[in-house]
């Protein structure tokens, strides 16, 4: 360890040493400071991830012979997943869920609220923001309970409001139910992000557009969106990933009826923990991780293109 003395060697280019060792600790001591955090990351993040990859290659079960003595089966689990109708069904449902509730629902609703509230101050704005935020910060189990009460077939609030007695929303429209539920629950984040982004749009730019005679749509197209494109992409990335991995709908529908709301996290839970097929479940988890990575890469690429274009 030639850098561990904590002082640049005579003759070493000073600028370079200063940059890589700003605190003057030396590599050894610096590593010592980082080590505890690294250990925790390895123990709770890296090891389970690698363990999942390993499990995905075995026929590990929760109970029975395979639990005591798992065998490596290679890519058999992946083969099985990719040819399984239930897997493809789950993938389609997940995409519907992400597109419907995150990309279209939360982002559009969040932006709409932020846009409508942009010039308002005082009680109205505070009330709207408080209500939207409340939906976001309440524990999932609590709001799920509220929604079960809302959508209940016999004494449900929604049926009373719409005067549609006896409609079992969670059975008749299960996918729509969880999509609307997730929009309602998650719009707050987009609203806050877009409210902050809109604060970055100079009022004079909007006013220039207004003076030219631009309507709302033209103002959004010509002034607002070019300005907040980066915020939009970041927002879509985050809410897509969160929604993709969201397990809360399970509390509402448990994946049913007839697997019609069996989105990916629910599917994995049912395979691995209800059916006890840990190996198969781990393999699907790895596939899900890959899909997450693809989503993230696409957004990152768009973001980078935008940065290149603006310089």
């Amino acid at each position: 360890m030639n850098g561990s003395k904590g002082r640049p060697l005579a003759g070493a280019p000073a600028g370079r040493t200063d940059r890589s060792d700003a605190a003057g600790l030396g590599r050894g001591r610096a590593a010592g400071f980082v080590a505890p955090a690294m250990l925790l990351i390895v123990a709770f993040l890296l090891f389970p991830a690698l363990w999942t990859v390993y499990l995905g290659l075995t026929d590990y079960q929760l109970t029975g012979f395979a639990a005591a003595n798992p065998q490596v089966v290679g890519l058999e689990n992946y083969d099985r997943a990719l040819s399984d109708d239930r897997f493809s069904n789950s993938l389609v449902l997940t995409l519907q869920f992400v597109l419907g509730s995150a990309v279209l629902g939360q982002a559009v609703l969040g932006f709409a609220i932020a846009w409508l509230m942009r010039n308002r101050v005082g009680a109205l704005r505070r009330t709207v923001e408080a209500l939207v935020l409340l939906a976001w910060i309440l524990p999932s189990s609590v709001i799920t309970f509220l929604w079960i009460a809302l959508l209940d077939r016999d004494g449900g609030t929604l049926n009373a409001l719409l005067n549609t007695p006896g409609t079992a929303w969670l059975l008749e429209y299960p996918m729509v139910s969880i999509i609307v539920f997730n929009i309602w629950k998650g719009a707050a984040f987009s609203m806050m992000l877009y409210a902050a982004a809109l604060g970055n749009v100079p009022p004079s730019h909007l006013e220039t557009a207004r003076l030219a005679g631009a309507g709302t749509f033209q103002q959004l197209r010509d002034v607002v969106f070019p300005r907040i494109k980066g915020h939009v992409l970041t927002n879509l990335l985050l809410i897509s990933l969160w929604t993709f991995n969201d397990f809360t709908p399970f509390l509402l529908t448990a994946g049913g009826p007839e697997n019609r709301t069996e989105i990916m996290p629910v599917f994995i839970y049912r395979i691995a923990l209800e059916s006890g097929e840990l190996g198969f479940g781990a393999a699907i988890s790895v596939l899900m991780l890959l899909i997450n990575l693809v989503i993230a890469l696409v957004y990152m690429r768009l973001l980078r293109q935008r940065k290149d274009a603006s310089t």
Partner: protein, 371 residues
């Protein structure tokens, strides 16, 4: 091309702030008109109300013969150049200039041609494909001007047009703006807090304070005969000396010294009444020796103005500032005497200028009411 007329135009913000208090104002067709005043005087609110970006709470506003009090900004046929120029960073210069035409659904070929022609008039032909971020401050301002000109509005509105430029560019841009306005002949209203800018550019100036117009007149009227002590202390690169005095039979007594009464208010003053004697630093002549009818004091500060020096005397009358030419040596601690030019001195009673009753140039000041 159109005149702008306001009739008791009032703007009250939620919370009760009266930003505009029954403004009556006519900006003539083709005039270059300045709204001048300190921060918060309502000048920007007036400009934005003319633009339609603020809705008035009372009174009416006409552009030409059309009542536009309730017309949305896009239909008023006005163009505004903002302090920060408000150029769209993602559009090229050509696209920025053509933007109002695009909103008005002018065909692409025609608007490109029009934008190029307008940009060319302002010397921007070489920059059409650049983005605003690649231009200097002065160029950005010209792009903003070109965008305002592109659709031939009947009124231009400029918000602090020169304040984002550095000192050198500012002078250049000032001359450029004045020439451009002359050539285009479009009614132009601009807002500034810089009295020198207003004096240099405008055909007429409205000096505002707390939502009211305190004086309306040509630059020389406003500079030479400020209608009240507020305008007197606001206009001029060095503020006017305003000294408390008492009227005597032979002159005006300021701190024990009898100064000759200026000719204009001479017949209108009453013996023994308290007045304010106003004299600009430029109109005080320095004398190293005692002269009757002068203000005495010790030199406290000497500020070099390049072509002259601004000297602050401290004496019985308090601080008195005068401009001394560059060749006269003035040293700190010297005794100095300031002799007022009698024909340039002004007398204020209760904050308002005492005049001979000749309404020349002061009618507007009377109409705007007293504070």
């Amino acid at each position: 091309m159109a005149a702008i007329t306001t009739d008791r135009l009032t703007k009250v913000y939620p919370g009760g702030v009266r930003a505009l208090d029954e403004i009556d104002l006519t900006v003539e067709d083709g005039e270059f008109f300045a709204l001048l005043g300190p921060s918060g005087c309502g000048k920007t609110t007036l400009l934005r109300t003319v633009a339609g970006l603020e809705e008035s709470s009372g009174g009416s506003l006409h552009i030409g013969d059309v009542d536009v009090t309730r017309t949305p900004p896009g239909s008023r046929d006005v163009a505004m150049v903002f302090q920060d120029y408000a150029l769209f960073p993602h559009m090229t210069v050509a696209e920025n200039v053509a933007y109002p035409l695009r909103i008005k659904k002018v065909a692409r070929a025609k608007r490109t041609e029009k934008a190029a022609a307008t940009a060319g008039e302002l010397g921007l032909s070489d920059y059409l494909e650049r983005r605003p971020g690649q231009l200097s401050g002065g160029q950005q301002q010209r792009v903003a001007l070109a965008r305002a000109m592109a659709c031939h509005p009947s009124v231009f509105l400029f918000d602090e047009p020169l304040s984002n430029l550095d000192a050198r560019m500012r002078l250049e841009a000032r001359t450029f703006l004045k020439r451009l306005q002359r050539e285009l002949g479009v009614t132009t209203v601009f807002v500034t807090h810089d009295q020198a800018e207003a004096l240099a550019l405008a055909d007429r100036i409205a000096v505002m304070e707390s939502g009211r117009i305190r004086q309306l007149g040509t630059p020389s009227e406003v500079f030479r005969r400020p209608a009240n002590t507020f305008v007197a202390s606001f206009i001029g690169s060095t503020p006017m000396n305003l000294l408390d005095g008492v009227v005597r039979p032979r002159g005006i007594e300021v701190a024990g010294e009898l100064l000759p009464t200026p000719p204009e208010p001479a017949g209108r003053l009453v013996d023994g009444e308290k007045v304010v004697y106003g004299i600009r630093p430029e109109y005080l002549v320095h004398s190293p020796t005692a002269v009757p009818g002068s203000l005495a004091g010790e030199v406290r500060v000497v500020e070099n103005l390049g072509h002259a020096q601004l000297v602050t005397l401290e004496g019985p009358a308090g601080f008195v500032q005068l401009v001394v030419d560059e060749d006269t040596p003035v040293a700190l601690g010297d005794r100095g005497f300031a002799v007022p030019r009698q024909d340039r001195a002004l007398v204020y009673r209760d904050g308002e200028l005492v005049t001979s009753g000749d309404p020349t140039g002061l009618a507007a000041a009377g109409a705007s009411g007293t504070a």
